[in-house]
């Protein structure tokens, strides 16, 4: 496996929002979702994830509530707010455009001589 990519600052928050867009999850669920989706390519310390969640809560993009897992364990579930949903949409557009622009420059054929 290649070296895990370290995340560009700020992207973890957006990724977490995306995870939550699927369904309310608790911390570990989000971690496993990210690992599954990225195939392990992203190297993120688990504690960093929780810091990201705190930031999202602070900014009102996510809400936390204590609930119960399938195994009857108490877990803190995170949910997307309306503000979070629109923030996710906006950031996605920006990110995609950014990535496309950079990718096209880096992989583009040289100008015809």
């Amino acid at each position: 496996m290649a070296e895990p990519l370290s995340l560009v600052k700020g992207t973890l928050d957006v990724l977490v929002l995306k995870a939550l867009a699927w369904a309310p999850m608790h911390g570990f669920e989000i971690t496993t979702w990210l690992e599954a989706r990225s195939g392990g390519a992203l190297g993120v310390q688990d504690s960093a994830l929780y810091q990201s969640l705190h930031r999202l809560e602070e900014r009102g993009l996510a809400l936390a509530e204590w609930g119960v897992t399938e195994n009857n364990q108490r877990a803190r579930y995170y949910r997307l707010t309306r503000a979070g949903k629109s923030h996710l949409a906006a950031e996605t557009v920006t990110w995609v455009r950014y990535a496309e622009t950079v990718t096209s420059i880096l992989t583009g054929a040289p100008d015809p001589a």
Partner: protein, 928 residues
């Protein structure tokens, strides 16, 4: 409820449930639990993938991050999150409250206008008085550690003469030799001496009349000041009498008259005809140490022989231990305190008193002699310098402050009532909100926001009112007092207004907010279905507030009545002379260095030229001006009257010109006036007044008797006339014995205050008088040119100010109370509409209904009035010193105040009573 509303309400309620104190702990505990679960799940996952439990656990922790560090970081970020979210909620809540408050207030313009006006007046008045209070009574001198400054006070009987006033009372004066002893002694204090003298300062061709300060070498050192230019006076400038012609300029004088020119150093200026060299400028912001008198120049005490030569009793001042004229203050060493310093200085003072000064005393009774030997020096705090003005203005200002405070309280009560009524009418809305789960605290916050918005707007308007009030006060006070104070808005006043606004907002907002959200509200609504919610207890609170307002206004009405009556007594006081049609001015040629002969010649010319002005019927002069608070006094010995030591033989003295009594309109009872024939070469003559004759029991045989004054041993002045009594120093003085001697016979003739009687309005002659003087001698400046009625008005300026302001405040307060009364009566009528309808349907006539209203007016007015009168009587004693010609229990004033109150109450009741009696029973019964 929609999910969006749920998003907004639920977290808020959840967070309200958490106690604020445990927020941090709670957040950390939650983090710990999350971490526990995460590690457990990760360990389980890894175990499923094949690792041993221990290896799985280790790997889980590795992936999580270094355990303690990670935990710590998450704790911190969770706590920060809580803090930030709490903060955001508060901000959001505040913004929401503000929006709701503004919306609500916009729908009640009457409330807003009334509230803002009342607050503006209340806060404005307090801010204005505070400004005066702060500058005159609170703000210390601009020196380092002003709390270390003390003034020296020597109470107790002593013989000899003194020159006191302006800088301090007579017991604060010292003789020159005594001062030097104290200055030199090992007392641990830096002792400084000072006094004020009149000074004409000439620089180049410009002469400015004003004051000068004679200060000892340690003065600036005791104050701890740094010069703005050059240097300040030092002990080396105070060594040889007459040998140090140097001066330090006042900063403002340097800026305004000399243009702030730094080249002024080492130049010569002329003070009272005496050339002195400028060695420095005092620092900016330093006005001297005497409130109300700002010196133009500071001169060393060693210059006394040249500068203060016109003061009687100053002959041999450097050795005379029984002429007291110098004031003294000192700085306590850091680390010491007043008691220790006082003990230390008395170790120097007491031996001098018993060994040196006691043998020198003359004319004291045995009892007084014993008291003299026991005399001790006292040290009193002098952080604000040393001045008589401070003692004079203390009581009036404290009183005015109290009055302004009362007005503000009344305004608060008014607004609180208005808010109570408003709260009552919104009772349903509030009840619904409370039952839907809005915390009581939240609703109170929202109501309080409304109150604070009113307070802030009122406060801003109040600053405008304060500005106007200060300008008004400045116009009433005489220029000497007005110059001591800045009548603009400065930072301390603005800050005070802001603080007062916030406190006021809480005061009038808190009670209605609590009352409107009380627990019993919901049950009360149910019980009183169909009526204004919670009416009965609201009415009780409301009525109590109004009774309080009435009581407070009554106090102010009584106070205003007392002060106005006092002012009327002052205005009606018989002064003993014909005041109208007199103009006055002062010339001091001695300050220009004129010799007595030259001054005499000047006065003779002035007498002639002024008498020739059309409209002038009579001209005369006096050495001491009338109605300025100043006067000369001395003991008198009359031939044929036995003098016992300890006998009170004090009399006032003035030196007057020929025709004085005719000019002033004081009747001559027997004998004659002075004439130009009474000269330096002829026998010394005197005229006495009736009080003098009475005091010394001269009967009908005053004429031709001889008197001695100024400590002369042999009576050598012959009485040639007796005049009626008249006032001398102040309007409020009692009539005291006066001896008049001839000014022209005074060897030290140097200045005079002229009195010019005119046939018409004296104000019109003022300009001509000015022209005459500049024609006779343009170098001599004219001071205090005004009409005598104007001088008298200045003499009673403080009384006028108190009378005017207290009357204004009392009217204001009564108006506010009337508005409050009107409000509660209207509310009662509205609330009892149905009941009134029933009564009328059952046969009650209009008069019966009106009586319902009047009964309520009666009990509130009686209760409030009685409370107010009791309070006024109880606190009246504090104002006694300000009253003239009546005491604080004056029944006529109390009766009048009660009458005004009754009239106002009836006026306030008129409309509600009429409205009540015009209720249509049918519609009242049908309405809800």
């Amino acid at each position: 409820m929609s999910s969006t509303a749920g998003e907004n309400i639920r977290p808020g309620i959840r967070r309200l449930v958490h106690l604020a104190l445990h927020r941090g702990d709670h957040a950390r505990a939650e983090v710990d639990e999350e971490i526990r679960l995460h590690l457990a799940l990760r360990t389980a996952q890894l175990t499923r993938e094949g690792l041993s439990p221990e290896a799985a656990r280790a790997e889980a922790e590795r992936r999580f991050g270094p355990p303690d560090e990670a935990r710590g970081r998450l704790h911190t970020s969770a706590e920060r999150r809580e803090e930030r979210m709490q903060h955001r909620e508060l901000v959001d809540a505040a913004r929401r409250d503000l929006r709701v408050a503004l919306r609500g207030l916009r729908r009640a313009p009457g409330l807003v206008v009334t509230a803002v006006l009342s607050l503006a007046l209340g806060i404005g008045a307090n801010a204005a008085i505070f400004s005066l209070f702060d500058q005159l009574l609170v703000r210390p001198l601009p020196v380092p550690h002003p709390e270390q400054l003390v003034k020296l006070v020597a109470p107790g009987p002593r013989s000899g003469g003194s020159a006191c006033g302006e800088v301090g009372e007579c017991e604060e004066t010292f003789s020159y030799p005594m001062f030097r002893d104290l200055e030199r002694g090992k007392t641990g204090l830096i002792v400084a001496g000072h006094t004020l003298v009149s000074a004409s300062v000439t620089y180049g061709d410009r002469t400015v009349p004003g004051r000068g300060a004679l200060v000892s070498g340690g003065y600036f050192r005791a104050l701890g000041l740094q010069p703005a230019l050059g240097r300040l006076l030092q002990p080396s400038d105070d060594e040889t009498l007459g040998g140090h012609p140097v001066t330090v300029l006042d900063y403002s004088y340097w800026q305004s008259q000399l243009g702030g020119d730094p080249m002024v150093l080492n130049r010569t200026i002329v003070v009272d005809g005496q050339p002195v060299t400028v060695v420095g400028v005092a620092p900016r912001g330093f006005d001297g140490t005497t409130l109300g008198a700002r010196p133009l120049v500071y001169l060393p005490l060693s210059m006394t022989p040249q500068i203060a030569h016109t003061m009687d009793g100053m002959v041999n001042f450097d050795t005379n231990r029984r002429f007291y004229w110098l004031f003294a203050f000192g700085r306590i060493a850091p680390g010491s305190d007043i008691e220790r310093a006082q003990t230390a200085i008395n170790t120097v003072y007491r031996p001098i008193i018993t060994d040196v000064e006691a043998p020198l005393q003359e004319g004291l009774t045995d009892k007084e002699m014993a008291a003299f030997r026991e005399a001790k020096l006292e040290l009193k705090p002098a952080a604000r310098g040393q001045s008589q003005l401070e003692g004079d203005v203390r009581t009036p200002l404290v009183l005015l402050f109290a009055v302004a405070g009362v007005v503000l309280l009344i305004a608060c009560a008014n607004i609180a009532s208005l808010l109570l009524v408003r709260g009552a009418s919104r009772g349903m809305e509030v009840a619904v909100r409370l039952s839907l789960g809005a915390g009581r605290r939240r609703v109170i916050m929202q109501l309080l926001t409304e109150a604070m918005v009113l307070a802030v707007v009122g406060g801003i308007a109040g600053l405008l009112v304060a500005h106007g009030t200060l300008k008004l006060a400045a116009s009433i006070l005489p220029t000497s007092a007005a110059s001591a104070v800045q009548f603009g808005l400065r930072w301390p006043v603005v800050l005070f207004a802001v603080a007062l606004t916030i406190v006021t907002g809480f005061v009038f907002g808190l009670f209605p907010a609590f009352h409107s959200t009380r627990e019993s509200l919901v049950t009360t609504i149910r019980a009183n279905a169909g009526q204004i919610a919670g009416a009965r207890s609201t009415l009780r609170s409301h009525a109590t507030l109004v009774v309080g307002q009435i009581a407070l206004s009554t106090v102010l009405l009584v106070a205003a009545g007392l002060f106005l009556k006092s002012l009327r007594n002052v205005a009606r006081e018989d002064l003993g002379l014909a005041v109208d049609q007199l103009a006055t001015f002062t010339v001091s040629p001695d300050l220009n260095g004129y010799s007595p002969e030259r001054s005499r010649a000047l006065f003779r010319r002035l007498d002639a030229e002024l008498a020739a002005v059309p409209g002038v019927t009579s001209v005369s002069s006096a050495r001491v001006p009338l109605f300025t608070g100043g006067g000369w006094s001395s003991g008198a010995q009359i031939e044929g009257v036995k003098y016992e030591p300890g006998m009170d033989n004090a009399t006032l003295i003035n030196l007057i010109g020929p025709g004085y009594f005719r000019t002033l309109g004081i009747p001559l009872l027997s004998g004659r006036e002075f004439t130009t024939a009474d000269r330096e070469t002829t026998g010394r003559v005197a005229i006495v007044n009736a009080a003098f004759v009475k005091k010394f029991g001269l009967g009908g045989e005053a004429i031709d008797r001889r008197v001695a004054i100024w400590g002369d041993k042999e009576p050598n002045i012959q009485i040639v006339g007796v005049v009626a009594d008249s006032k001398y120093q102040a309007v409020k003085d009692r009539l005291r014995p006066i001896v008049y001697t001839a000014h022209l016979q005074d060897g030290k003739l140097g200045r005079a205050t002229y009195y010019v009687r005119t046939s018409g309005d004296p104000a019109r002659v003022l300009r001509q008088i000015s022209a005459v003087i500049s024609r006779v001698d343009p170098d001599v400046p004219v001071q205090e040119l005004k009409t005598l009625p104007q001088q008298i008005r200045e003499n009673v300026a403080v009384d006028r100010m108190i009378g005017t302001l207290s009357a204004a405040f009392a009217s204001l307060a009564t108006l506010l109370a009337a508005v409050g009364l009107y409000g509660v009566l209207g509310y009662t009528v509205a609330r009892r509409t149905r009941e009134i309808g029933v009564r009328m349907a059952l046969g009650a006539d209009q008069w019966n209904v009106r009586r319902l209203v009047l009964r309520q007016v009666a009990w509130m007015t009686l209760a409030g009035g009685a409370l107010g009168i009791l309070a006024a009587v109880a606190f009246g004693r504090t104002a006694r010193s300000l009253l003239f010609g009546l005491d604080e229990h004056d029944p006529a004033t109390v009766v009048m105040a009660a009458a005004v109150l009754a009239a106002v109450a009836l006026a306030a009741a008129y409309l509600p009573a009429r409205r009540a009696s015009s209720i249509d029973p049918m519609s009242a019964l049908r309405a809800d």
